[in-house]
């Protein structure tokens, strides 16, 4: 048994990163959408 259990989401103040993670996903969606629009505009 490891003495360092794996806790999804971390513990205590480590959970304060949730906003950071959500930001990453939001930014990725925006970036991929921007690339798709770029391709739609210049792709013809």
């Amino acid at each position: 048994m490891s003495d360092t259990p794996l806790v999804a989401g971390g513990t205590g103040d480590e959970r304060s990163n949730t906003r950071l993670y959500a930001g990453v996903i939001v930014v990725e969606v925006i970036v991929v959408t921007a690339i798709w629009l770029f391709q739609r505009y210049f792709g013809t």
């Binding site: 794996l6 990163n17 950071l20 990453v24 798709w36 792709g43 013809t44």
Partner: protein, 566 residues
């Protein structure tokens, strides 16, 4: 090269080596040498993570691919931000709290020593070879484009890197990575600027991108579901997710970067830097290739960018055939340039509406140019016997040396050096860590003093540097560069990730299940790679699923081995 460009390259090398060597003051014990006493700020670690991943192969190979095929390679990175979030939630806090030096230490705690040994050996074997390829790839290209001696070019990249990594340890690696990343970004920015500045007066940037789009080069996202296609949205999102999870979570060369951070949160933030900026940066790099394609629509390119093969064909019995090809190429280039000019004019006069006839004429003209280049490439393969020859890897260095202003040529060559050196340094440092921590200190010489392990660590770094340089000198037949390293990694990465999934996510997994599952997973990936045309990104998914499935099956059947739990 102009003496000013030489001065820039030499100044870069002196600066980096000096900066790396002076970090040795902070590395007087093993934890300082390998982990910087877990004291580095997130932004430095984050830049180091990015610099380690961005090798010269990325810079040269991806721009070449952008020139030949367009933006599709950006899809490789679509899974990266999600992988960073998953790792930040799971493995990063675990590794940090466990106070491990290597990722593979965890496998011994969770399973047994042979699983740790096997995983660490796989890392050592794959990274030692890839380190050689990372040195060889830019060295081969620079030596051909600039007429440098190949062995001296390899040593020019390898020796300074080995020197500062050996002396300064991870402190040297990280702080030189920071500076190297700045040099790379400056080089990329300067290239984009020059390419935009050199567009003809009668073609705007928008028109240039529309022209490139006519050939399909702006097709960055491909939503088709074809497992045999290398880069699609789905292979990048799913296969790329597995590749990045494995690379950043199970590959010591990356794990060691964020283990040097001051705290768990700083380690996470360092990964978030890649999560936010990697896709935009990787969009810019193939865009250089697309802009070079536009540039060479209006400025005649050589039939072959690889001048060494060009000279070999000219000196061969088939030189006459090649001369005829060159004449055809010049005529085809003129026709394509006129068609591109007509297409730009038609777009302007049509108020931006797509002029179908002009587009068709341009596509036909571009097809004729591409066909002649294809015939020239085939001729090179026949004359030289180099069956894997691909001319695209020579486009970017040739453009830089022939078309960039004096001074900036030196900056871009320095950026190529920086990209190679930052990756090599991190890999040498991690190879040394895995060798000393996973093998030497555990199996060979237990209980020696910290000073002894520090001295051995430095020697081992030098040893791996020597191995990498020897591999680089003998590495030939590179093929499309970006794929060589990624394909090679995909052979092991998925299976390694599978073992870590078993370790962290499956309480019932046993040590026997993990060990044999890992071996079986690699065997299955080898079979899939050998007998199917499945794109290499999917191999990561196959490896992970195979290890988890077989590992769990063996664990459930294995009544004699009790699970250790998590």
């Amino acid at each position: 090269m102009h003496f000013l460009d030489w001065a820039v390259v030499v100044a870069y090398l002196v600066w980096i080596v000096w900066d790396g060597l002076r970090r040795s003051k902070a590395t007087n014990e093993v934890e300082g040498y390998f982990l910087a006493n877990r004291s580095l700020p997130w932004w430095a670690v984050g830049l180091s993570v990015m610099a380690t991943q961005l090798s010269a192969i990325t810079l040269v190979g991806t721009t070449g691919r952008g020139y030949a095929e367009g933006m599709s390679v950006v899809q490789l990175y679509l899974g990266l931000p999600i992988a960073m979030v998953i790792l930040s939630v799971t493995l990063v806090p675990f590794f940090y709290r466990a106070k491990v030096f290597t990722a593979y230490e965890y496998l011994e705690r969770r399973f047994d020593s042979r699983t740790r040994t096997l995983a660490s050996l796989l890392f050592l074997f794959s990274r030692a070879l890839s380190c050689g390829v990372i040195i060889a790839a830019p060295a081969v290209i620079l030596s051909i484009v600039l007429g440098w001696n190949l062995t001296l070019t390899i040593l020019g990249i390898g020796v300074p890197t080995v020197l500062y990594t050996m002396v300064g340890g991870v402190q040297a690696v990280t702080w030189t990575d920071v500076k190297q990343m700045v040099v790379i970004v400056l080089g990329v920015g300067a290239t984009v600027g020059v390419l935009l500045f050199q567009l003809p007066d009668h073609v705007s940037m928008g028109e240039a991108l529309h022209i490139a789009g006519t050939t399909g080069r702006m097709q960055a996202l491909d939503f088709t579901w074809d497992p045999n296609k290398t880069y699609t949205f789905w292979s990048g999102l799913i296969g790329g997710l597995f590749l990045m999870l494995s690379y950043f979570g199970c590959d010591q060369s990356q794990v060691q970067r964020y283990l040097t951070a001051k705290s768990v949160n700083e380690g996470r933030q360092s990964l978030m830097m890649s999560a936010y900026f990697k896709i935009p940066l990787q969009f810019l790099i193939p865009m250089i290739g697309v802009l070079m394609f536009v540039f060479y629509l209006f400025h005649q390119p050589p039939v072959l960018f690889n001048r060494q093969h060009d000279a070999e064909v000219r000196a061969s019995a088939r030189a006459g055939e090649y001369r005829v090809m060159e004449q055809e190429f010049t005529a085809a280039f003129d026709a394509r340039r006129d068609a591109a000019t007509a297409l730009a004019a038609a777009r302007r006069s049509g108020g931006g509406a797509p002029p179908t006839a002009a587009e068709t004429a341009f596509r036909d003209a571009d097809g004729r140019v591409a066909a002649i280049r294809g015939r020239a490439t085939a001729l090179v393969r026949e004359v030289t016997g180099d069956r894997a020859f691909g001319d695209v890897n020579y486009v970017f260095p040739t453009f830089v040396t022939e078309r960039m202003p004096v001074g900036l040529v030196g900056l871009i060559i320095a950026a190529i050096f920086a990209a190679a050196m930052s990756s090599i340094a991190a890999e040498l440092n991690s190879l040394s860590t895995a060798t000393v921590i996973d093998f030497y200190r555990r199996l060979w010489r237990t209980g020696a003093s910290d000073a002894h392990y520090l001295a051995v660590s430095k020697l081992v770094t030098g040893f791996w540097g020597l191995v990498a340089c020897i591999v680089a000198i003998y590495a030939t037949n590179l093929g499309p560069l970006i794929d060589v390293v990624n394909r090679f990694g995909s052979f092991f990465y998925g299976s390694l990730l599978g073992v870590f999934v078993l370790a962290a996510g499956a309480k019932r997994a046993t040590s026997r299940g993990a060990f044999w599952g890992l071996l079986a997973g690699m065997a299955i990936v080898a079979l899939v790679a050998r007998y199917s045309s499945m794109a290499f990104l999917w191999h990561n998914v196959v490896g992970t699923v195979a290890v988890v499935s077989i590992g769990m099956l063996i664990s459930l059947l294995d009544r004699s081995s009790s699970p250790k739990g998590t």
